[in-house]
Amino acid sequence: MFFGRKSNLDEFEAEALPHWNDLYRAAVRQLKDEAKAEDVLQEAYLKAWKSFHQFERGTNCRAWLFRIMFNCIHDHRRHWFQTKVTTEPDDRLEAKYPYAPPIPQGLTDEEIIAAVQALPDTYREVVLLADVEEFSYKEIADVLRVPMGTVMSRLSRARKALRVKLAGVADSYGIGRAAMGGATGCE
């Protein structure tokens, strides 16, 4: 029996290792620390290896690995920061979001990264999973173990928060102000 398990390591590596960079990238963004991200990445892969016999061949290995890793990230946060990760950021901000400012052309990748990094954890993770890693809502709900409606509302709020942050950056450059001032919403 154990010979079978040992030989499975090759299969596990072939299936799981090609995704390490996507997972590591998400972990670095979520934890904002490369060393911690590497610890979490290794922990996630060890857990995945341990439960590889439960993984259904032919299903989405990448999503399965992300689910394990985000579970590790949430545990990590709970352990180190004593935070309840499911807390939703303040909805009252929503009323202040501007509507449809154009994306200022002068924004650099670094400024966009900084704006994403400044989002609350629960918002940043849905942006990473939806926009960067291109998971479907259903897959994200599965990865984060929350209802699909929660994924959609968090993503919507995250994008609005991101919009405010980017508009703020643009405003500090003196760009985008006219477009924002003149924007009218239909909400």
Binding site: F12, W20, Y45, D131, V132, C186
Partner: protein, 297 residues
Amino acid sequence: MRVIDFGQEECKKAADLLDAFLKNELSAETSQRIAEHVDKCETCSQEAKYRSELQERVQKALRQEMPDAGVEARLKARLRRKASNEYLLHWAAPLAAAAALVIGSFAVWQKMQPEQERWMTSTEDQRAYLESLYGQVANVIQIGLRDHVHCAYFRKFAETLPTMDEIVALVGGDYEELAPVVRDSVPEGFHILLGHQCGYAGRHYIHFALGREDDLMSVIITRKEGDESFDKDQLLPVLEAAGSPVYAATADQFETAAFDTENYFVFVISNLPREENLEVAGALTPRIRAFLDRASS
């Protein structure tokens, strides 16, 4: 899937569903209705364009791959180590114990073999792992570390211990005094697994590899080249042994203690705790220094 009834609040409903629309997450019917609304509504059309651009910009900015810096190699190492430990616990250990009843010497040998990660069978994996170590230590420390990792850590040792005559033959007559010095200066339980002259990355080494259960140690001597020195790399000694400053560095699981003579560097590298590794270096320093000073003169 539910079809959304638009009615009079078309813009609001379209705005609520725009993200899902752009991600192609809606039913065909709802998607069709959003598309029709966006086509005829300038504001919603602008909003859709904005959200789409924002998503593209976010993806472009955040999708850059993280530099590897050995992350993948260390991940593979951890996995293989875990798998190897499981294997030993579940299968190989009882088997070795059973074998010991029949072939005692085989089991003794197994105990003397340090646990090694021989899994990094590809040169590419080994090189990536070595490179990940280089960033953690000064250039002068890398000189010894690369030989230990390349020539001991990644090596599959012979299944019988070499005799002192065999070691002396491989180390060479000029260095034959070193083998007993090394043997007598290391902590109890260590056995010389290998003594030889070797080369790596264009450099020549006298190398002794020693094992004790899960511990692996190398004593490495190499001639200085160019202006190499501890001072040049701004290292500070952590102790002095027999008048020689001894330097220390850590990279991953490897503890390095090093000292020099006028013409040589000497490295003691192992997976022992720093203090223990330094103790070995401290014990070796006077005798190796005396030998190398005689050799130089």
